[in-house]
């Protein structure tokens, strides 16, 4: 059997310069109309650094197993570290884990929780998955910390007589799931779809409602995540650099954009006390009043820049705006749902396939939009109302300005 203590001993014997062992003991329950599934899973994630005259090598190893030899795994990790040699750097001193509660008492028994959370509406086909895990992090500095975390996710297909919509919700808490409200919204949109027409192509002003704005998780706000990747920024591949406007005029816009990563948000979907390499998770700004303000820093990237690691981009907190939601003009189209959203990770250029929109209050379905998301969101009007959903906290609706609706 593999255990953290024998892995640590094996790594020390082999002279690893620095290492982190993350063990996740997970109990996962899944329920749908036909099946109950319960899973006991142990996942290991090892990060090992080896210092050589040529520099420092880092190896990462992932293992889904309980049986095995700690010595063999340590050999593998050390060997990988030797093969991944790069510039020398020093591990930052251990910092206090972020203080954040991730353990919802109502999810401590995942099997019972999925039964409670399974929607009982007619015409709804749902699968509920709940997880409770105990995460243990051990580092070379003798640092050891453990925390429990819970997670629940619902994937549902909401159907009417002749149409359907798929919805997904995930939360750290049962109360935060709000699946009944999501199903109710889906039914309203199914009614709109029943009367929807074909889109009229041409110039328009694009307004995104919550469901479209957060398509697939972070939705359009995902455009800012790769821009905060420190390795990409170091290679000069990001669209903007730290301390510069994210696009020309972004800092002088009517409502300058501010986005933060908050990994200590209570019960935040991406919150955690420590990252996978043992680094403390910290809140940091990505964009501050239109200016690029921060990067996601792993221990290596932070050391190479002489800064503190921050645990990477976690939950996105977008500052609310002052927009009251009044439509910006007669040519405005309100997009309620998307079929697909594709974002270029380097340029932020996106392609949106529209599932349901409203043009002057009349529903339509179909059409696509190509848009520069970083420029559009930097100059966007954002609502005063705020929502927390998944790893997003921010405005419920945004107006992205002028674009062209394609057939």
């Amino acid at each position: 059997m593999i255990d953290a203590r024998s892995l640590a001993r094996a790594l020390i014997r082999r002279g690893a310069s620095a290492w982190t062992i993350v063990e996740r003991d997970q109990h996962i329950a899944t329920l749908d109309a036909e099946l109950t599934r319960s899973e006991q899973r142990t996942r290991w994630y090892l990060t090992v650094d080896v210092d050589m005259p040529a520099g420092r090598g880092t190896g990462h190893l992932r293992l889904d197993a309980s049986a095995g030899s700690a010595d063999a795994i340590a050999d593998q990790a050390i060997s990988l570290a030797h093969t991944g040699m790069g510039p020398a750097w020093t591990s930052p001193p251990p910092a206090a884990p972020a203080r954040v509660d991730l353990d919802d008492g109502s999810l401590r028994d995942p099997v019972a929780a999925v039964k409670r959370a399974l929607p009982a509406h007619a015409g709804v086909f749902a699968t509920v998955t709940a997880m409770r895990e105990l995460v243990s992090v051990t580092t070379h500095a003798g640092f050891h910390t453990t925390w429990p975390a819970t997670l629940i996710r619902v994937d549902a297909l909401v159907t009417s007589a002749d149409r359907s919509l798929a919805i997904t919700r995930a939360s750290r808490t049962l109360d935060g799931l709000a699946i009944d409200a999501a199903i109710e919204d889906a039914y309203k949109d199914l009614a709109l779809l029943a009367t929807a027409r074909a889109p009229v192509a041409g110039p328009c002003t694009l307004v995104l409602h919550t469901e479209a704005m957060l398509h697939g998780g972070l939705g359009v706000w995902q455009a800012f995540v790769p821009q905060a990747d420190a390795a990409t920024e170091r290679q000069g591949l990001t669209r903007y650099r730290e301390h510069a406007p994210i696009v020309e005029g972004a800092n002088t816009a009517a409502e300058p954009l501010t986005i933060e990563s908050d990994g200590a948000l209570p019960y935040g979907l991406e919150s955690a006390p420590l990252g996978d390499e043992g680094e403390a998770v910290r809140r940091f700004p990505l964009v501050e009043r239109g200016m690029a303000a921060g990067l996601a820093l792993s221990p290596r990237e932070a050391a190479l820049r002489g800064r503190e690691p921050n645990g990477g981009v976690r939950n996105l907190v977008v500052a609310a705006g002052t927009w009251d939601g009044a439509l910006p003009g007669a040519d405005a189209i309100e997009v309620r749902r998307l079929r697909s959203l594709t974002i270029d990770r380097y340029t932020g250029e996106a392609s949106l396939e529209i599932a349901l929109g409203l043009a002057q209050g009349v529903p339509f379905t179909g059409g696509s939009v190509r848009i520069d998301l970083i420029a559009s969101l930097a100059r966007s009007r954002r609502s005063t109302g705020v929502i927390t959903r998944g790893a997003y906290q921010g405005p419920t609706i945004a107006s992205l300005g002028a674009t062209v609706l394609l057939p």
Partner: protein, 467 residues
């Protein structure tokens, strides 16, 4: 496929083989615990017998141990990586218990969760034990590196315009046991993928070309041919027409890589038991409904010899069988849930090896005038509306049965699936096979497709403005 400068630089920096895999000294893999097949079968039989004793007469057990080895070589170095996953799924028909602890104690603990306190096993006839699976020769790291080095250096005509090249050899060795009353099965599947990548600049845009072969069988059973290597080189070195693409409705020939992506995506989106829950899909894809031209016949054949996505028995423990999905343009079947990501994830309805019937026309005679779409990048099929968007790396213009020499980068075909497939008027007699490994929550899903090129008609438009 074509990438912009940022993408290729990122690829060179982040996706380079030496970064992915490490370089220089070959790594030793985590020693796989000595797994005695008979012992594992004994644990599973005992588990099923105990579940029977608890009243679960439909009990089944599935165990897997999977070992993945990848070797790669690029312009900066070579390396090898290893990964291992174990798992056991115990099923009663209405409940499943899953564990990553593939040991007697781990399986007994899983039985206790389902059946409560351990009781004496019932007497169950499992039938005859299967014949021992043939031993698979496990290659040492240096043997894999030898092969990948040979693959990387075989093309003698590499141009100095090629700024990056890489070779990859990926071997996934899966050993599976499935036990239920009257059924005791065992299989070992070695899935192999060999690929090469070439990158060259074309003006301000680099062009990345990849050729791959994937199969189930011995590591040396197939090789990338000289023609494959030449294709990778020529696609990377091709010069693109700098003028704007003439957006609009055109006759098109879809090369096998595009047809493969389209068929795979369409089947997964529309022709599965879970997709059939959507009323729009149930209506459009009803059995007997015509969705394509009579030339289109599509089957899912997990028994196809050497198929990357093939298997002898599925993850429910049932023997594999061919499912006909589309017969001469009419829907005749859908896929039931019978596969698990990594063999231990939740059951899913997913294709194994899709096969589209070939036609009788030579591939280079498919199109008189129009555009040949080459090298599929992605395909999107919307289940609720039939909308389809297919992205291709290149479109080659033909006129009067000959190529005009115009070659456009980054083109997409947009429209609706049924009209697109109904407009198919010819299929090539040549076919090509593609194997894909998708990862879901670190669990792999293997599937493959054998398809011909197709001639149809649709709306083409440029994906990017000219640089």
């Amino acid at each position: 496929m074509t990438w912009n400068r940022r993408e290729v630089l990122a690829s060179l920096g982040v996706g380079a083989a030496h970064v992915l895999l490490g370089c220089s000294s070959p790594a030793r893999g985590p020693a796989r615990p000595q797994m005695d097949a008979g012992e594992v079968r004994g644990w599973l039989r005992d588990a099923v017998a105990r579940l029977h004793a608890a009243g679960f007469t439909h009990a089944r057990a599935l165990a897997v141990t999977r070992h993945r080895t990848s070797a790669a070589l690029d312009v900066l170095g070579a390396g090898v990586t290893h990964a291992r996953t174990d798992g056991v799924v115990l099923s009663t028909g209405t409940a499943e218990q899953v564990t990553t602890d593939l040991s007697r104690a781990g399986i007994e603990a899983a039985v206790r969760v389902l059946a409560g306190s351990v009781r004496a096993p019932a007497s169950v006839d499992f039938g005859r034990a299967p014949a021992p699976v043939p031993a698979v020769k496990e290659l040492a790291d240096y043997e894999l590196l030898d092969r990948v080095t040979h693959l990387a250096t075989r093309d003698p005509d590499l141009s100095s315009r090629i700024v990056y090249s890489a070779a990859l050899l990926d071997v996934d060795d899966t050993h599976l046991w499935a036990v239920a009353a009257g059924s005791d099965l065992e299989q070992r599947i070695t899935r192999v993928k060999k690929s090469i990548t070439r990158v060259a600049w074309n003006g301000t845009r680099p062009i990345i070309s990849e050729v791959a072969r994937a199969w189930a069988g011995a590591v040396d059973a197939q090789e990338l041919s000289d023609a494959d290597l030449a294709t990778a080189r020529e696609h990377a070195l091709a010069l693109m027409t700098p003028t704007a693409f003439p957006d609009g409705d055109h006759a098109v020939a879809l090369d096998p890589s595009i047809v493969a992506q389209l068929m795979d995506t369409a089947v997964r989106t529309l022709l599965t038991a879970s997709a059939a829950r959507r009323p729009e899909v149930a209506r459009r894809m009803a059995i007997g409904r015509r969705i394509a031209a009579p030339l289109v016949t599509l089957v899912d054949d997990p028994l196809a010899a050497g198929a990357y996505g093939g298997f002898a028995f599925d993850d429910r423990g049932d023997r594999a069988e061919v499912v006909k999905l589309v017969d001469r343009g009419q829907v005749v079947g859908i896929l039931p849930p019978r596969r698990r990501p990594g063999h231990i994830g939740p059951l899913e309805a997913a294709p194994s090896h899709l096969s589209l019937t070939a036609g009788s026309v030579a591939a280079d005679a498919l199109l008189d005038a129009g555009f040949e779409l080459e090298s599929g990048i992605s395909a999107f099929v919307d289940p609720s509306s039939d909308r389809v968007v297919i992205s291709a790396a290149r479109a080659r213009e033909r006129l009067g049965g000959k190529r005009t020499g115009r070659l456009y980068a980054d083109i997409e075909l947009v429209g609706e699936l049924t009209p697109l497939l109904s407009a198919v008027t010819a299929a090539s007699k040549e076919t090509d096979t593609f194997g894909t490994r998708d990862d879901l929550d670190h669990l792999p899903c293997f599937h493959s497709v054998t398809v011909p090129a197709l001639r149809t008609r649709g709306t083409l438009r440029a994906r990017r403005r000219p640089a």
